[in-house]
Amino acid sequence: MTNPNGRFGIHGGQYIPETLMNAVIELEQAYNHYKNDPQFNAELTKLFNEYANRPSLLYYAEKMTRDLGGAKIYLKREDLNHTGAHKINNVLGQALLAKKMGKTRLIAETGAGQHGVATATAAALMGMECVVFMGEEDTKRQALNVYRMRLLGAEVIPVTSGTATLKDAVSEAMREWTNRIDDTHYCLGSVMGPHPFPTIVRDFQAVISKEIRQQILEKEGRLPDVVMACVGGGSNAIGTFYHFIPDEGVRLIGCEAAGRGIDTFETAATVNTGRIGIFHGMKSYFCQDEYGQIAPVYSISAGLDYPGVGPEHAWLHDIGRAEYVPVTDDEAVNAFEYLSRTEGIIPAIESAHAVAHAVKIAPKMNKDQIIVITISGRGDKDCAAIARYRGEDIHE
């Protein structure tokens, strides 16, 4: 689905400094070699199954289904993965690839901290050095994850430039990569950045839809009517969509963080409010002003608080294959509480955006229809922030 220069329709590409070009070319060559290498794939599968707890469950949410009174709802439980989110799928793949390439040091950006924790975990496991860049604002919102990364042996560098959130962490990780390339792999956390990252990350996350397909066929004997996931950069969503893209009968829905609403400036709903632009190595949709200055986006969710979206999503939007819907902070918080009470599953506030949209559409669907929602991560990390959102004075 990628053409040779890393384009998805008009999106994607390699808009990066010349200093990094040979690094991404080397990465692409290594990836093209190892992705077809049986030994590499055997090692990765072993890590997935024996370390990361794959395959993850496809759980029938019976109470939620009954309560909403419409479509049958299944939850793809990426929250049960080691480290508590889908991020580990991509990280194990990239860390293994980096190791094969002879790299000894991983750098990463992180928003909510999940990708940083996953990268620190893989680095610990594989004996690699690890440096994680995290917006200073996010280090406060997700203090526990900062501690987890340090506990795992990583160095966490708070980023104070710009809005001190995820986009600035990406910028800073890119700057660090141009500074030290020889021994360092930039373990990008989402399906974004310059080619080949959107393809590599998608391929490692595609295990999600590969499993869903197999599991739903076993349980229901047919494909789902809707698969849905939250979208920031879009890695759990593309992983959820990928093996269903050829199945025209399966609706693909990405749930964007609308923050306080898409009619306000305090939003991170890129596809719904952004324009085509070029940033962080790729052409895609970005929240920006009329002169192309990147907008300071907002969402309650640190993991979705990003002004762009992966180029493959931009393309799926352009061709009408996937729908991208906005979900506000309020709706996500309600869904966070709803899933906790109804199913005894505390979802990440990111994943709660997808749950919120399912709550809206499921009652309008028939009882013989099926929705699969990917629960991209667990919500323990968010409890203090949501309590504060509800006016309770809780601190970690």
Binding site: Q14, Y15, E18, M21, D168, R175, T178, G292
Partner: protein
């Protein structure tokens, strides 16, 4: 022959960089005139971008100050148009792909030609992506400047062969900013460039004092200095013009010897 070539006729070229609108356009105008008078052979004008990923902290700071001051691409075009009434030194814009793309590449290039901009440097547009920009710039007599880095190695010939205006040789790994020492074997890279192109080659990134400038100029056709000047502007604000002018004079002298 583009106006940029003229910049390299007066011995080794000294190329200062400043960010437009830092702290305001009136001051930028004074600094440009002071630099031209002090012997700057070509001036790089930065159009600020919210997220300048190739810049170190000093130029990041200038971008933030300029945007906070309310400068926009349109205001900068109007400013250059005014500047061109008396300033003849070759001028190039240095900005990021999204600033040009969002303005409309064709509209941006046409506007550059109209106001008298001679070239564009986009550090986030490498050889592989330049066909989206370079042919449109060329049609408007604006040179699309190519960058070559210490990591370019096998890519040098390919880039040099298609270079126009001048080649921006990035002296070091990392982002812009002052360095105590430049470790790259610049002479070897310049030699490889020479084998493939007769376009002049200027060295930038990390050069902040006369000694470093003289050393870089000895193996190339000119030197580019950004952060050292932008830091002075950060310190002196609206009164920076004479300070920067004196510094430029000293640097030009150092590379002329």
């Amino acid at each position: 022959m583009s106006n940029i070539r003229n910049a390299f006729k007066n011995g080794k070229a000294f190329i200062p960089f400043i960010t437009c609108g830092d702290p305001d356009l009136e001051t930028t105008g004074k600094i440009v005139r002071a630099m031209a008078e002090a012997g700057a052979d070509l001036i790089e004008l930065g159009i600020p971008f919210s997220d300048p990923t190739a810049e170190g902290p000093v130029i990041q700071g200038a971008n933030i100050r300029a945007l906070a001051g309310g400068v926009t691409t349109d205001k900068i075009f109007a400013f250059v148009s005014e500047l061109r009434k008396d300033v003849t030194v070759p001028l190039v814009f240095m900005t990021y792909a999204n600033v040009v793309f969002s303005y409309g590449i064709e509209r941006f290039a046409a506007k550059c030609e109209e106001v008298g901009i001679d070239g564009i440097i986009l550090p986030d547009v490498p050889f592989e992506e330049k066909d989206e920009f370079a042919p449109i710039c060329r049609a408007h007599n604006v040179d699309f400047i190519s960058l070559i880095a210490p990591t370019s190695e096998n890519r040098i010939a390919m880039i040099a062969k298609e270079a126009e205006g001048f080649i921006y040789l990035v002296s070091s790994l990392g982002v812009t900013g002052m360095r105590s020492e430049i470790q790259t074997d610049l002479g070897a890279i310049v030699q490889k460039i020479r084998e493939n192109s007769d376009v002049p080659c200027a060295v930038g990134f990390g050069i902040s004092n006369p000694e470093q400038a003289a050393k870089a100029a000895a193996v190339s056709d000119g030197v580019i200095v950004g952060s050292a000047i932008v830091r002075q502007i950060g310190e002196h604000g609206k009164d920076a013009a004479p300070v920067v002018g004196a510094f430029v004079g000293k640097m030009k002298q150092a590379i002329t010897k």
